[in-house]
Amino acid sequence: MHLNGICAVNDPEVVQLFQFEFHMIAKETKMNSQPITEITKRSWYKRNEIAITPWLFLTPAILFFLVYVIFPIVQSFQVSAFAWDGLGEREYVGMANYKELLDDPAFYTSLRNNVVWLFMYLLAIPAGLFIALFLNQTVRGIRIYKSLFFFPFVISQVVVGLVFTWFYDPTFGLLNTILGGVGLGPINVLGDPTYVTYGIIAAGLWPQTAYCMILYLTGLNAVDPEQIEAARLDGAKGWKMLWYVIIPQLKPATFIAFVVTIVGALRSFDLISIMTNGGPFGESRVLSFYMFEVALSEYGFRLGYGAAIAVVLFMIMLCFIVYFLYSMYKEEKGH
């Protein structure tokens, strides 16, 4: 196959290289030797192989990324300038959708809930770390315990949402049975605008903590025992040991945990949809859910307005994306 489409090559170095390669092939395949002088030409591809191959491999990914990521983002920006029900004609309205957003209490509720999600969801990182530290020991059957702790991450978010909905049920739920047992009044977590978002986040933290735990468990395997020994000799133990010796070594794991948790918080959609459907009266909506509601749900016919919400959400995500890319860039440069 290396012999096909050969063209003239004058560069002696390349010819030499090629001849060498040819010899290798000839040896390997034990092919009938042909006079080397015939093979003086090489294909255009061959000459530019080093430069082109990476792009060839990248092409499918780039294509898909363009079609399924970049193009929809551009399109969202475009659609957000129209009033459109997704069925009929579009009507250009300029910035009107954004102006309306600024004056929409439901938008601010969603935005506030997004911020609450971002901060509260980060609790999964310390929680995951402590469970990982707790499980990072050699006891008989520890693998079983580790799998059990990891279990919530394996089950679907929909199931997690359903389980927690039943747990919170104001009449029959376990939570209120327990609260009643210790003499506390029943609370309707998912029916009360004050608690509802925290209630859903608690449900989300269950699998997310498990995810962070597994990241830290792998991270803990890579902690250098010599450093720990050295720290011990210097008299470090307990919190000091954790804070100054272990956690710095877990930095890569922390970074990944941070990334997945932020991403998880921003795409918190399924739990809300299952547990409250955005209610009571829209108090548990986040931007992604509100966007779905106005643009795509049963009563939603405002694609332009939905796109405007999507653009705002994208802008928030962009801050994190830029930060992540920047830290990764710095990291690579450092090495």
Partner: protein, 418 residues
């Protein structure tokens, strides 16, 4: 483009004519999309399609049944991208977005046929937008108060006919440690039913329709009067607590176990209540009582419909299928107690001999002089319905927020009805 359209139209016209002219068996394809996904409705639809197939052995029928909830969001995709020949949907404003976008075929010609014009006349208004009819109805059902007869007997109550009696009953029920009304408002629309009735009883059908059409302000004193009536029931603790956390199905057990005495809901709730063990001696029905004296009683009776998408490729076959489905015989079978368990629209159909169907049929045909509404989310435009029902739910939980809620709805009205 336009040439293609006219050719298709001409072709469709000739096909229709030939279809009418000869009663011969149909040929070609027929692609039907249904949202009747519950077991009994599904079975009866499949049975009727089987009969239609038997009448037209050469017709290639393909039926797709989609989950009822999923259908509501999928419809706009398949109507634009891959239109079937027949699709189910709902009457009144609920079909407006698709009519306005030109996605439903104008069926006025079918409504001019004597068979349909005479027998389906009761729902013609609900099928009309811009003076044309866009579909045909196959079923409708009454709304009203389903109550526990045994609990009423225990407390010495009788079916109320006016607001004072309703409140007096409720006071006694609350005093016995029960809730008067079960409701699950997690998915909002059940609260719309309460508003429909309270507003139609307080201000009448015409006012309700004006509000739905965006002609009246939400901050109007008459609307406030409706909410004031509603608030009387809320303040006396009439409604099931924590209803915002339940779906309508999840609110059924409270009626079954007797911790709520009644339930304002559609007739579709009867089947699950019976399945849960309530007998007809325990469960009964009464019409929502009058509130303002002199206001003609009006009812909610949502109508489910068949449509032909304008992108359909076998419109003549589809029309023939619709003629079959609205025929008196088919509607009788479809709405039987063990099938849909609802009311047939065709005036010549027989109503199945079922306590609730009989009561509902009598109520709608002779005791609803004010008019028949579809339902909150079918009479109000989709966006207004969504914002509105959210406000209604909030009002039920936080009645003190009423002014803010009404201001919000009024602002939405200003934007939605242009």
């Amino acid at each position: 483009m336009s040439m293609v359209k006219t050719t298709v139209a001409a072709l469709a016209a000739t096909m229709t004519m030939s279809g009418v002219a000869s009663a011969e068996s149909l040929k070609g394809d027929l692609n039907i999309f249904l949202d009747t996904s519950n077991p009994a409705p599904r079975a009866v639809m499949e049975q009727l399609i089987g009969e239609f197939q038997g009448m037209n052995p050469d017709l290639k029928i393909e039926t797709t049944i989609i989950d009822r909830e999923a259908y509501k969001t999928q419809i706009r995709n398949f109507l634009t991208a891959n239109a079937p020949d027949v699709a189910t949907w709902y009457a009144a404003n609920r079909m407006k977005p698709y009519v306005k976008a030109g996605l439903f075929e104008d069926l006025s010609d079918m409504w001019a046929e004597p068979e349909i014009a005479a027998n389906l006349a009761s729902t013609k208004g609900a099928m009309t937008i811009d003076g044309k009819q866009w579909g045909v109805p196959y079923t409708y059902y009454q709304w009203g108060i389903y109550y526990r007869k045994d609990i009423f007997a225990e407390l010495g109550l009788s079916e109320p006919t006016n607001w004072a009696e309703e409140k007096a009953n409720c006071a006694k029920i609350v005093a016995s440690g029960r809730a008067c009304y079960s409701i699950g408002s997690k998915y909002l629309w059940t609260a719309g039913g309460w508003f429909d009735y309270l507003n139609m009883r307080t201000n009448g059908f015409d006012f309700h329709m004006q509000l739905a059409a965006g002609e009246v302000s939400w901050e109007d004193d008459r609307v406030k009067a409706t909410f004031a009536n509603w608030r009387e029931l809320i303040d006396m603790g009439g409604f099931l607590e924590n209803h915002q956390s339940y779906s309508w199905q999840e609110a059924l057990p409270f009626v079954v176990n007797g911790s709520a005495a009644s339930y304002l809901i559609g007739n579709f709730a009867v089947a699950p209540l019976r399945e849960a063990g309530l007998t007809d001696d325990q469960l009964d029905f009464y019409q929502f009582p009058a509130i303002t004296e002199g206001v003609a009683l009006a009812e909610d009776a949502p109508t489910d419909t068949f449509h032909i998408p304008s992108g359909a490729s076998n419109k003549a076959n589809a029309k023939e299928f619709l003629r079959f489905m609205v025929s008196a015989d088919a509607q009788t079978k479809m709405n039987a107690g063990d099938a849909l368990g609802q009311l047939p629209v065709n005036a010549k159909s027989a109503v199945d001999d079922d306590k609730f169907l009989n009561e509902g049929f009598t109520m709608l045909s002779s005791n609803s002089p004010g008019g028949v509404a579809q339902f909150f989310d079918r009479d109000f435009p989709a966006e207004m319905a969504k914002v509105g029902m959210e406000g209604l739910q909030e009002f039920m939980v936080r009645p003190d927020n009423l002014d803010a809620i009404l201001a919000r709805l009024e602002k939405a009205r200003g934007r939605i009805y242009k």
